[in-house]
C-alpha cells in the first residue's frame, strides 16, 4: 500500500504545476484572451520564487514573490495585447522568449545555491485517515492551493455574476461592451490572474518539486498547461482530470522503464502526448458541447469604440 501511495504522491506532485498554470490560463481564455506566454511567466515565477527564498530565507516570501512576478510579466502582455491591441499569439510567444532569457539573467547568481523546500503542511487529524489521509491532507501548501484554485475558479465562473460577466466577454466582447461592461478592465484582471497562477506554478517547481534553480527548469511544462486548457474544453474540473491523467501517464512510463519491459524509451516518453490526443478525440466528438464551451472571441483583440 505504501508503494501505491508513493506513486500517487509522485503523480500529484508532477501534476500540480500543470494544474495551477492551466487553471490560470483557463480564466484568461474564458475572458477571450489567448496568452501563449505561460512558459515564460512560469519560468520567471520559478526564478523569482527561488531568488526571494534565498534572499529572505523564507519560502513563503518566495512564493509570494513568484506570484507577483508572474502577474507583472503578464501585465507586459496585457499592455500590448489589450491596450495596444497587438496580436496575442505573437505577443505571447515573445513573452516566452523574453521570460526564458530574463529568468536566466536573474538566476545567474543563484545557480547551485541549495534550495529551501516549502515544508509540507499536515492537516491535523485528517492527515491520519488511512490510505487517502496522507495523499490529500499531508501535502505542501501549493498543492492545497491548486485544489482550492480549481474549486474556486469553477465556482466563480459558473456560480457568480462576475463569472458570468467574464464568460460573456469571452463569448462576445462586442455585446458585453454594449451592455456597459468594461471589457478591457476585466480582461486585464483575468490576464493578471493567469500570470499570478503561472508564477505560483513556477514556484512549485523551484520550491517544492525540485527546490533548486536551473535554467529553463520549466522544460516545456507551460506548453503542456496550455494544451490542458484546450483538452479540458475550458472547464476547471476537467483541467484537474487532464493534469492528473498527464501526470499518471508520465510517471507510469518511468515505472514501465524501471520494470525493464524493453520498449524503446522514446515511445514510452511519447505516451503522455499521444494519450492526450486520443482522449481529446474521444471527448470532443460532440460538436455542440465543445462549441458551447469554447470562448467564441478567443484570441481576438477588442478595442472599445467611443
Amino acid at each position: 500500500m505504501d508503494i501505491a501511495q508513493n506513486i500517487l504522491l509522485t503523480i500529484m506532485t508532477a501534476a500540480t504545476p500543470l494544474l495551477i498554470a492551466a487553471i490560470g490560463e483557463l480564466v484568461v481564455e474564458r475572458s477571450g484572451v489567448l496568452n501563449l506566454g505561460v512558459e515564460g511567466m512560469m519560468v520567471i515565477g520559478a526564478v523569482c520564487g527561488f531568488a526571494a527564498t534565498i534572499l529572505s530565507g523564507s519560502p513563503w516570501i518566495g512564493m509570494l514573490a513568484a506570484i507577483v512576478a508572474g502577474a507583472v510579466a503578464s501585465l507586459l502582455f496585457g499592455v500590448l495585447t489589450l491596450s495596444l491591441a497587438a496580436n496575442q499569439v505573437a505577443t505571447g510567444l515573445s513573452l516566452t522568449l523574453l521570460g526564458l532569457g530574463l529568468s536566466g539573467m536573474i538566476g545567474e547568481s543563484f545557480v547551485g545555491s541549495a534550495g529551501i523546500k516549502l515544508a509540507s503542511l499536515d492537516i491535523p487529524v485528517l492527515s491520519d485517515i488511512p490510505l487517502i489521509g496522507r495523499l490529500i491532507f499531508g501535502q505542501d501548501p501549493i498543492f492545497y492551493m491548486s485544489l482550492i484554485l480549481t474549486g474556486g475558479v469553477a465556482w466563480f465562473l459558473f456560480r457568480t455574476r462576475a463569472g458570468l460577466t467574464l464568460r460573456a466577454i469571452g463569448d462576445n466582447h462586442a455585446s458585453a461592451h454594449a451592455l456597459g461592461i468594461n471589457v478591457l478592465k476585466i480582461r486585464y484582471l483575468a490576464v493578471m490572474f493567469g500570470g499570478a497562477c503561472a508564477g505560483l506554478a513556477g514556484a512549485h517547481l523551484s520550491l517544492v518539486y525540485t527546490p533548486q534553480w536551473v535554467e529553463n527548469m520549466t522544460a516545456g511544462r507551460g506548453w503542456i498547461a496550455l494544451a490542458l486548457v484546450v483538452f479540458a474544453s475550458w472547464r476547471p474540473w476537467r483541467v484537474l482530470g487532464g493534469a492528473y491523467l498527464f501526470g499518471a501517464v508520465s510517471i507510469g512510463q518511468l515505472h514501465a522503464q524501471a520494470l525493464g519491459i524493453g520498449i524503446p524509451s522514446q515511445f514510452l516518453s511519447a505516451l503522455p502526448y499521444v494519450a492526450t490526443i486520443v482522449v481529446l478525440v474521444i471527448i470532443s466528438r460532440d460538436r455542440r458541447l465543445t462549441l458551447m464551451n469554447t470562448p467564441a472571441s478567443l484570441g481576438q483583440a477588442f478595442v472599445p469604440d467611443r
Binding site: L80, L84, L95, L102, N182, L226, P264, A270, T276
Partner: protein, 364 residues
C-alpha cells in the same frame, strides 16, 4: 493613465512603412539603457547586434541559412492563420519532412542522380503535409482542437526522430553515436557560392514559395476563399466555400512548406539526419508569420530580421561578452516593440493622463 485607441477608417499606409522604424528606434533606446545598466558600451553592443553580422560576406551567407527555414515555414503559417486554422505544430512537421526526405540518401545511398534531390524535396513536403494532415483530419472529422493536436505532435515527432537517429537510421560506421551517414553530394542541396560562404539554395526555395503563395492569396479564387473564410466564416459558408476543404488546404500547405524547410535544412545546412535538426524553427516561425503581418512577402522581411537578431546576439556575446540570456531579453524587447508599434497602422493611439469619466455598468 490610460491608452486609448481609435480605429482609423482605413489602415495607414504611412505607418505601415514607418512602424518598423519607430520600433527599431524604441528598441535602440531601450537597448542602450539596458546595456548601460549592465555596464556595456551601448554603442558597441547595438553595433554588434544589428550591424556586425552584415559587415562580412560570409556572415550574410549565414544570415540566409538562418532565415531560409524561418521564411519557408512562416509563409505557410501565414495562409493557415489567415484562414483561421491554428497550426502551432510546424516544428513537428519540419521534423517529419526532414525524416521522410532523408530516407532517400540513407536507405539508397547508391541512388545518385539528378533525380535524387527533387525526390527528397518532394518526400520532405509529403512528410510535413502528412503530419499536418493529422490535426486537420481530427479537426474536421472529430472536431478535435487543432492547437492541442498539432502541439502534441511536435513532441511525438521529436521523440520519433530521436529514436530513428539513434537506432535504425544510425550510421553503421559512426561508432554507435547518433546520426545517419553523411549524405552523398547528389543528395545535398548545393551551396550557392561555395567559395564565399555557406548559403544554400534553401533561401531561393523560401523566396519562390513566398512569391507563389503571395500570388495565390492575392489573385486566385483559392486565395480569396482563404481571406473570406478567415475574416468571416459565416459569409464564406454562404458563398459555398467548404470549411473542411479549407482546413485541409491550410494544414497541408503549411505542413508541406514546413516539411520542405525541414528537408532543405537537413540536406542543405546539416548534411545528415541528426537526433535534433531544429533549434525551434517551427515556433520561432510563428512569430515571424505575425511580424510579417501574415503576408508571405512580409514573412521574408521578418524572417531576415529575426535571423539577424540571432546572429547579432552571437556577435555581442563574442565581442563584448554579453551573455546569451541578455541577447534573448533584447530579442524579446525588439519583438514587443515591433508588435506594439504595428498598432499605429490600424489605430490612432492617445495617451490619456487624467482619469476618464467612469464607464457605466457591470464590474468583474
Amino acid at each position: 493613465m490610460r491608452i486609448e485607441l481609435q480605429k482609423r477608417p482605413t489602415p495607414s499606409a504611412l505607418y505601415a512603412v514607418l512602424s518598423p522604424f519607430i520600433a527599431l528606434g524604441l528598441t535602440l533606446i531601450a537597448g542602450a539603457i539596458m546595456f548601460t545598466i549592465l555596464g556595456k558600451n551601448p554603442v558597441d553592443a547595438l553595433y554588434s547586434f544589428f550591424i556586425e553580422p552584415l559587415t562580412e560576406v560570409w556572415s550574410i551567407h549565414e544570415l540566409t541559412v538562418k532565415a531560409a527555414p524561418l521564411i519557408l515555414i512562416a509563409v505557410g503559417l501565414s495562409v493557415c492563420y489567415r484562414s483561421n486554422n491554428w497550426n502551432i505544430g510546424a516544428e513537428g512537421q519540419f521534423i517529419m519532412g526532414g525524416i521522410l526526405g532523408s530516407l532517400v540518401p540513407i536507405l539508397m545511398p547508391g541512388f545518385q542522380s539528378w533525380l535524387t534531390l527533387p525526390l527528397m524535396l518532394l518526400l520532405g513536403m509529403a512528410g510535413g503535409a502528412a503530419w499536418g494532415a493529422i490535426p486537420a483530419f481530427l479537426k474536421t472529422r472529430f472536431n478535435t482542437n487543432e492547437i492541442l493536436v498539432s502541439l502534441m505532435l511536435v513532441y511525438t515527432a521529436q521523440l520519433f526522430l530521436d529514436w530513428l537517429a539513434r537506432g535504425v537510421l544510425r550510421d553503421p560506421n559512426g561508432n554507435n553515436f547518433p546520426g545517419s551517414i553523411r549524405f552523398p553530394s547528389a543528395a545535398q542541396l548545393p551551396e550557392i557560392m561555395p567559395s564565399q560562404g555557406s548559403a544554400h539554395y534553401g533561401i531561393f526555395l523560401a523566396i519562390i514559395a513566398a512569391v507563389i503563395i503571395w500570388f495565390m492569396l492575392s489573385f486566385t479564387l483559392n486565395g480569396f476563399q482563404v481571406r473570406v473564410l478567415g475574416a468571416n466564416p459565416r459569409a464564406g459558408r454562404f458563398a459555398g466555400f467548404s470549411q473542411t476543404r479549407m482546413t485541409y488546404f491550410a494544414f497541408l500547405l503549411s505542413g508541406g512548406l514546413a516539411g520542405l524547410a525541414g528537408i532543405a535544412e537537413v540536406s542543405g545546412a546539416i548534411g545528415q539526419l541528426r537526433e535534433t535538426i531544429s533549434p525551434g524553427y517551427g515556433f520561432t516561425a510563428i512569430i515571424v508569420a505575425f511580424l510579417g503581418r501574415l503576408s508571405p512577402l512580409g514573412a521574408i522581411a521578418a524572417g531576415f530580421m529575426l535571423a539577424l537578431t540571432y546572429l547579432g546576439g552571437e556577435a555581442a556575446q563574442m565581442t563584448l561578452g554579453i551573455s546569451d540570456k541578455v541577447g534573448r531579453v533584447f530579442q524579446g524587447l525588439l519583438l514587443f516593440f515591433v508588435l506594439g508599434c504595428d498598432t499605429l497602422i490600424n489605430y490612432q493611439v492617445r495617451l490619456v493622463l487624467r482619469k476618464a469619466a467612469p464607464a457605466a455598468g457591470g464590474q468583474g
